[in-house]
């Protein structure tokens, strides 16, 4: 089964939050949505979660009973313990008794939250809270799992834990759509969607996105054109959309672009070429 939004357009007043966006999320795979602030990531996820109606376009999702959603906010009830949070959500999905106890124990173990089961959500670290939110989103074994920046603001170890949980969910057949601002972790997804100002700049498997990238990226201490350059560590990278690897800009050192380079380069190209 593949879930999707097709030709989705969402406007907030004069702002176009999504502009003719089509994204498919097949069962058993992870689709990562990347883009900067205001790119439309949360709008896309909320539209698929049924939390936001479209101006035009279609949405294909399972019924609410088979949908799991972790919003960008905390995702848990601060005054409830970890166990109580899980039990509350499980109760809404009709889980109870031994089935719930087994599922709860399994998820707490996988999320390394067993020791924190009796702690209030308000007393958890950011990473633990996001893991709890994740556990609450998958407690009912959803067919479609939507995660809005599950790893933002959490430590690297918790990010690894969360990615393991995401991968396990996909491996068990769940369709996962997640947004992230961390491009390194987005590379792990089966399918990437790069959004900028509500439009899809590029999408596909990471290798295909990289292969289809046109132009050349160079590195230098001082850029030729400031509008096309960005800092990577101690050096500056610069995008040359019309150049080719066989005909690079004279005197410059070309670099093999990673996903971060590709996303920034495509965003710059859109902004520099489209009159504001």
């Amino acid at each position: 089964m593949t879930y999707s939004v097709r030709s989705a357009t969402v406007r907030f007043g004069s702002t176009v939050a999504l502009d003719d966006v089509t994204v498919e999320v097949p069962a058993g795979s992870v689709v990562a949505v990347v883009g900067g602030d205001g790119a439309g990531k949360s709008t896309l996820l909320r539209a698929l979660a049924g939390e936001l109606a479209l101006d035009s376009g279609t949405v294909q999702t399972p019924p609410k009973q088979r949908l799991g959603y972790l919003p960008a906010s905390s995702g848990s009830w601060a005054a409830l313990t970890v166990t109580q949070n899980i039990d509350f959500v499980a109760g809404i999905y009709g889980l109870a008794g031994d089935e719930l106890a087994a599922r709860r124990a399994e998820l707490l173990d996988r999320a390394a939250l067993t020791a924190a089961a009796g702690r209030l959500a308000a007393q958890l670290s950011g990473g633990m809270r996001r893991k709890l939110g994740f556990v609450m989103a998958i407690v009912h074994r959803p067919a479609l799992l939507i995660l809005d920046e599950p790893t933002t603001g959490i430590d690297p170890v918790s990010r690894i834990d969360l990615w393991r949980l995401v991968s396990e969910a996909a491996a068990s057949g769940t369709a996962v759509l997640m947004s992230t601002t961390y491009l390194d972790e987005a590379e792990r997804a089966a399918h990437l969607v790069v959004l900028d100002s509500g439009r899809v700049l590029v999408q596909g498997p990471y290798d295909r996105v990289r292969a289809s990238f046109a132009g050349v990226i160079t590195q230098a201490a001082r850029p030729v054109r400031a509008d096309w350059a960005w800092r990577r560590g101690r050096v500056l990278h610069e995008y040359w959309p019309d150049a080719t690897p066989s005909d690079p800009p004279a005197g410059a050192t070309t670099v093999a672009p990673d996903l971060e380079d590709i996303v920034i380069a495509l965003s710059l190209a859109r902004r520099n070429m489209v009159p504001s």
Partner: protein, 357 residues
């Protein structure tokens, strides 16, 4: 100096954006001045009066205009007079045909009763005064039944609205919106604990009022519980409504305050309704606490049956239906998918199962 100027400009900019606080700062003092000015009056200028018994007509003619005679019944008895009083139709009833004439005073309307007793004392031995329902004219006897309503209002509006708006503040409302639970069940599930807590509070306050202040409970506990339950639905509905027009707990408290203050001042709990200027009194008749106070004082002090309290029961029931339905519909909208401003609507296709909307 520049830094302080920057601070002042920033504060004004924030204040201008916070329309609710700005409104409170400007409108509240004006409202308080006008309402207090016209409502703050303990002096009752006329008393609804019944005169019964063989000399009813003669006595009626002799009474000063302070006694506004609404019932003159020569065939009436003392029992009829007491029934009129129990039903709160009159403040004073003269029972003629005996010497001295018996003047019954409705002690559950404290200020009217105090004015009546003062006026009757001047008459001397011609009238024997008997205060019913509150013989010592104790303020606590009148206040405790009203305070029960005030406590229910407090829990119903302030505590409930904060509890509801907390979901919005924490961002968990959007999570509830995508879960397979009906909005009506979300609302009922959220208000049930407050209903229970308010009910327990009501029982505790009523029992304590009886034990500590010797306030009588002359009527039916069932009728009292029914009135309190209907009233609770009104104030809980108000709480839900307030939560739908507030983004934060602070806003909810501010808004609840707008609803709470008039109930304290204009429900007849402190200042008698009949002593208020007509321009302000009508506000009192729009407030649910006014009607609950009628019920609680009627049942506790006068032992009034439901039949004689039909008006406040009906008004509260209508209020409960209107407020609760309105609040529920507004809350449902909060849980429904957000609608972008554009008039065009997206078509939500059916999938393997069901579409999102």
């Amino acid at each position: 100096m520049l830094d302080m100027r920057a601070m002042i400009v920033k504060e004004f900019r924030e204040l201008v954006r916070d329309r609710r606080t700005l409104g409170m700062l400007i409108v509240m003092p004006l409202l308080l001045l006008v309402i207090f000015g016209y409502a703050a009056n303990f002096y009752v200028s006329s008393l609804k009066t019944a005169v019964v018994g063989p000399q009813a007509s003669q006595v009626t003619k002799m009474l000063p205009s302070f006694f506004d005679v609404t019932v003159t019944e020569p065939s009436g008895t003392q029992a009829d007079a007491e029934t009129l009083m129990r039903d709160n139709k009159v403040d004073v009833a003269f029972v003629t045909g005996q010497t001295p004439v018996l003047a019954l005073v409705n002690g559950s309307n404290l200020f009217a009763a105090q004015s009546a007793v003062a006026a009757l004392n001047k008459v001397g031995d011609q009238v024997k005064t008997q205060v019913l329902y509150n013989p010592d004219l104790k303020t606590s006897w009148v206040m405790v039944p009203a305070i029960i309503g005030l406590i229910l209002t407090f829990i119903g509006t302030i505590i409930t609205s904060i509890g509801m708006v907390r979901e919005r503040e924490a961002g968990t409302l959007e999570q509830l919106a995508v879960m397979p639970i009906r909005p009506s069940r979300v609302i009922l599930g959220k208000i049930a604990p407050y209903f229970l807590v308010a009910s327990i509070d009501m029982i505790i306050v009523t029992v304590l009022g009886i034990l500590l202040f010797s306030v009588p409970f002359n009527g039916s506990p069932f009728a009292f519980a029914l009135g309190a339950a209907i009233f609770l639905f009104v104030v809980l509905g108000l709480g839900v409504f307030i939560s739908t027009i507030s983004q934060t707990a602070g806003q909810a408290i501010q808004t609840a305050f707008f609803f709470l203050l008039p109930q304290i001042l204009l429900s007849g709990m402190i200042f008698p309704l009949e002593a208020m200027a007509a321009g302000v009194r009508w506000i009192g008749y729009l407030l649910p606490l006014t009607y609950f106070t009628m019920i609680s004082q009627g049942i506790m002090l006068r032992g009034a049956p439901i039949a004689s309290l039909w008006l406040p029961f009906v008004v509260l029931t209508v209020m409960a239906v209107v407020v609760f339905t309105g609040a529920t519909l507004r809350f449902r909208r909060d849980l429904a998918p957000d609608r972008p401003a554009s008039p065009a609507r997206g078509e939500q296709a059916a999938a393997e199962t069901v579409s999102t909307t």
